[in-house]
């Protein structure tokens, strides 16, 4: 098991390194030199040179690459081009928790509801509950999250549609995870308020994973129900509940965990689109604004953080897998 863990870890590190280099190169082969873009068409050459020197952009590429990695290792993501002097890490420390909170909340909705829907569909296979739930699943993957978000706004006019907390709310939270922190530290009133603000965006974002989870749950449950040993067990009088709890759920949970991994990228992409609709101050809005403003240093930093988040979350899931899946544990032992 440890060997497997270490291999996964090494893979993650390699992927991240390649990502860093790819992003580094991508930003530097841009058609327009961002420094020149900054100064405009009649820029004074000395000023450009000075700026290039300050940013270290006139050195050979490999030296820059080393400096870049060194900077990253210190956790320094640099400053914004479009808003001189603004530290990117400060903005990210607000944006990343906002995006993560939204993503986690969506998963908290998608997994239990998806499993429930899938179970119901499996139990009443080929009758109307099955058809309805599968039709919903199909719609769930076909309706774009940004359109669904708009529909939710129209359908629930009384719900807040922007921001994470009501304007002008003062609080004494230490992190930017407003909902989770206030919930965990027992500030229930604040938790309720932030939950209200979180509700619509999280529901909108949860639909695709919900549809996928329910479909996967249904299929893996059916797989178990059809297995010979269970038919035998049922014939011998084991209750349906017992079959579900002892056999079907463990099997389904592994499939769900697996598919959640596959869905992470889609979930992060969806989060970015959802944020735009709901004015959610997360990573997505930050990076989209930066692209529109040609703020290359921010695009670079956000790309790195997104890649990092993605790799870390995937790694976490892999580890969970190893811990929970007896088959994999066996396989890695032998």
């Amino acid at each position: 098991m440890w060997a497997m863990l270490i291999r996964r870890l090494a893979q993650a590190v390699v992927t991240m390194l390649i990502a860093v280099l790819a992003i580094f190169v991508a930003v530097r082969v841009l058609p327009a030199n961002p420094v020149i873009a900054q100064f405009g068409q009649h820029a004074v050459p000395e000023k450009i040179e000075k700026e290039m020197e300050e940013r270290g952009w006139n050195k050979p590429l490999w030296q820059q690459a080393i400096a870049f990695v060194g900077q990253l290792a210190q956790g320094n993501l640099g400053e914004s081009f479009a808003r001189p002097g603004e530290k990117i890490s400060t903005r990210l420390s607000q944006a990343v928790p906002a995006t993560l909170e939204l993503t986690f909340a969506a998963m908290l909705i998608a997994i239990p509801v998806g499993v429930a829907v899938g179970t119901i569909a499996a139990l009443w296979r080929n009758s109307w509950p099955d058809w309805i739930s599968m039709a919903i699943a199909l719609l769930g993957v076909s309706i774009p999250v940004f359109f669904l978000a708009i529909c939710l706004i129209v359908a629930f006019p009384a719900m807040p549609t922007g921001y994470r907390l009501p304007p002008g709310t003062f609080h004494d939270l230490h992190t930017e995870f407003y909902f989770f922190e206030s919930l965990l530290t027992g500030k229930l009133q604040l938790a309720a308020i932030s939950a209200r603000h979180l509700a619509l965006p999280a529901i909108a974002l949860s639909t695709i994973p919900l549809a996928v989870v329910s479909r996967v749950t249904r299929n893996s449950m059916l797989e178990v129900f059809d297995a010979d040993y269970l038919r035998t067990a049922r014939a011998k009088g084991a209750s349906l509940l017992r079959v579900i709890v002892r056999h079907a759920f463990p099997n389904a949970s592994l499939s769900v965990l697996n598919i959640v991994g596959f869905q992470l990228g889609m979930l992060l992409s969806g989060a970015i689109l959802t944020e735009t609709v709901f004015n959610w101050p997360g990573l997505g809005r930050y990076v989209v604004d930066a692209i529109r403003d040609y703020d290359y240093s921010v695009v670079q930093a956000c790309a790195l953080v997104l890649a990092g988040l993605f790799v870390t979350l995937n790694l976490t899931l892999d580890v969970l897998f190893l811990v929970f899946d007896p088959r994999l544990r066996e396989a890695s032992r032998s």
């Binding site: 100064f39 405009g40 009649h42 479009a82 002097g85 603004e86 002008g168 604004d289 529109r292 403003d293």
Partner: protein
């Protein structure tokens, strides 16, 4: 609901809070509450009244101005506001290479270049010496870029001063979460009467619909730059009050005159004929705007009413384009880029709709338009660099002087990358001469004549297409009292209070 926090909803976020580094309205709204210049505006008019300076006098030749500072004024960080602080402030304004200037955007630089030197007579007296007498000097001193900054804070924060502004105004800075909120709190040691609310939150949201909903729910207390049709609707909403003032502003279309094909006057003229501004006012302003024919608003002296405007004439525009295409050998449709900002301005509450209207109109007479949307800071920065061909722009008066419109927007001195606002890069020596003469002439009658001549010349060259003058309207909850709209569209919240209900 009793609250001591005033929440101001607006269409966008500030881009900088250092007074010398911005000319974006959303920044100015915050800056004027934190910083105070030597001379202030009256609460309701553009008259100049004592501010940090108690009194001032000028020499007979108009070259020397002596300001007597109010004793006992403190900055928010406790530093005393004295002659030294004033001199420090102006050294930063006058010298782009000053060690405490950390950004190459200094849009108001040219407004202060007539200052020869500043000296301290004593601790509370400063003397300005000018290169030549300037009609607008005192008004320029009252503009927000010359708000007095705390030297201690500037030295302490360095480049970060723009995110930690420290002045002497009625509110002090608390925090700024970009694109989320800017929070100010009442400065208890303010020299005058302290502010009426304990805290102010500036809340940006680009989507007007969101601000309308929030105002209706009472989540925000004031909402500005709303689409005029929305304001009409809000007028009948219980609990909401609409304030309005004529406004001294201009919304216009800039045409980059130094780049082909807009360097050809015929093409620019075709554009002015192609646009039905009366329809535009219906579509994008719900009728709440006045058609503009010159850059100087009619609410301001010096406005020229003699100009024979080019009325909407699609056939003529088409014909001009066909002639131009033969004369200069370009093919129709002619491709142009139209730059648009992503958030509402007082002179243009619906920039996207305005842009699409212009695009549709121009495509009917032989153009092909691509709309390019940018964040407001980037929008103007890219246009000061001349990257655009067509661009939506506008101006709200900083001071009650045509100089503020004509010189700022059309004098060749203001073509530069440090934030100069001659976006059309219009260069006409004659116009420059007239504007200079008007600036240094002290007789208002003569100045009026000079400005009228300049407006006629500008009209003939058509480097810009003046679109509209817009009344400033704001919707607010009825329990907000004491806040009056200012004709300059500056937002000074000192007297605003929240009434008990």
């Amino acid at each position: 609901m009793v609250t001591d926090t005033l929440i101001y909803g607006r269409g966008g976020d500030a881009n900088a809070l250092d007074p010398i580094h911005t000319d974006i309205g959303e920044s100015v709204k915050v800056i004027v509450n934190i910083f105070e210049p030597l001379v202030a505006y009256d609460e309701e008019t553009l008259d100049l009244v004592p501010g940090v300076a108690e009194s001032w006098e000028t020499s007979d030749d108009g070259l020397e101005w002596t300001f007597k500072l109010r004793p006992g004024v403190k900055f928010h960080d406790g530093t005393p506001l004295d002659a030294e602080a004033v001199i420090f402030t102006f050294e930063r304004i006058l010298d782009p290479d000053h060690p405490h200037v950390h950004n190459n955007i200094i849009p108001y630089y040219s407004s202060y270049t007539q200052i020869e030197k500043i000296e301290a007579v004593d601790d509370l007296t400063v003397k300005f010496t000018l290169k030549q007498p300037q009609a607008t000097f005192l008004a320029n001193i009252a503009m927000f870029p010359s708000g007095i900054v705390s030297p201690t804070a500037v030295k302490k924060y360095g480049a970060d001063f723009t995110r930690h502004p420290v002045g002497s105004g009625p509110f002090q800075f608390v925090h700024w979460k970009p694109k989320q909120e800017i929070v100010l709190s009442r400065f208890e040691d303010y020299w005058g009467e302290p502010a009426g609310v304990k805290r102010v939150v500036f809340l940006p949201s680009e989507e007007s619909a969101i601000r309308v909903t929030q105002l209706k729910r009472g989540e925000i207390h004031l909402a500005d730059n709303l689409p005029p049709s929305e304001v009409d609707g809000l007028e009948n909403t219980p609990g909401v009050v609409v304030q309005s003032t004529p406004g001294i502003n201009i919304g216009y279309l800039t045409m980059q005159t130094q780049k082909p094909p807009l360097d050809k006057p015929e093409v620019r003229q075709a554009i002015t004929y192609a646009l039905d501004r009366d329809r535009l006012i219906e579509v994008a302003y719900a009728g709440h705007a006045q058609k503009a024919k010159t850059m100087v608003p009619p609410t301001l002296w010096g406005h020229s009413d003699d100009i024979q405007d080019r009325e909407f004439d699609q056939a003529k525009a088409k014909q001009l384009m066909e002639e131009a295409s033969q004369k200069y050998g370009f093919k129709l449709p002619l491709k142009l880029e139209l730059f648009v900002m992503d958030q509402p301005r007082p002179y243009m509450q619906q920039p996207r709709q305005t842009a699409i209207f212009i695009k549709d109109a121009l495509e009917k007479v032989g153009f092909q338009i691509e709309i390019i949307t940018n964040d407001i800071g980037q929008h103007f920065q890219r246009m000061t660099r001349g990257e655009h061909q067509l661009g939506l722009s506008g101006w709200s008066a900083d001071i009650a002087d045509p100089h503020n419109f004509l010189h700022t927007l059309l004098h060749s001195d203001n073509i530069n990358e440090i934030g100069g606002n001659n976006l059309s890069q219009y260069k006409n020596e004659e116009v420059d001469k007239l504007l200079d003469a008007a600036q240094f002439e002290l007789d208002q009658e003569k100045r009026t004549q000079l400005y009228k001549q300049a407006q006629q010349l500008i009209f003939e060259d058509a480097p810009v297409l003046p679109l509209v003058h817009v009344p400033v309207r704001i919707a607010q909850r009825d329990f907000v009292e004491g806040y009056k709209l200012h004709p300059s569209s500056q937002v000074r919240l000192k007297s605003a209070r929240i009434a008990e209900q």
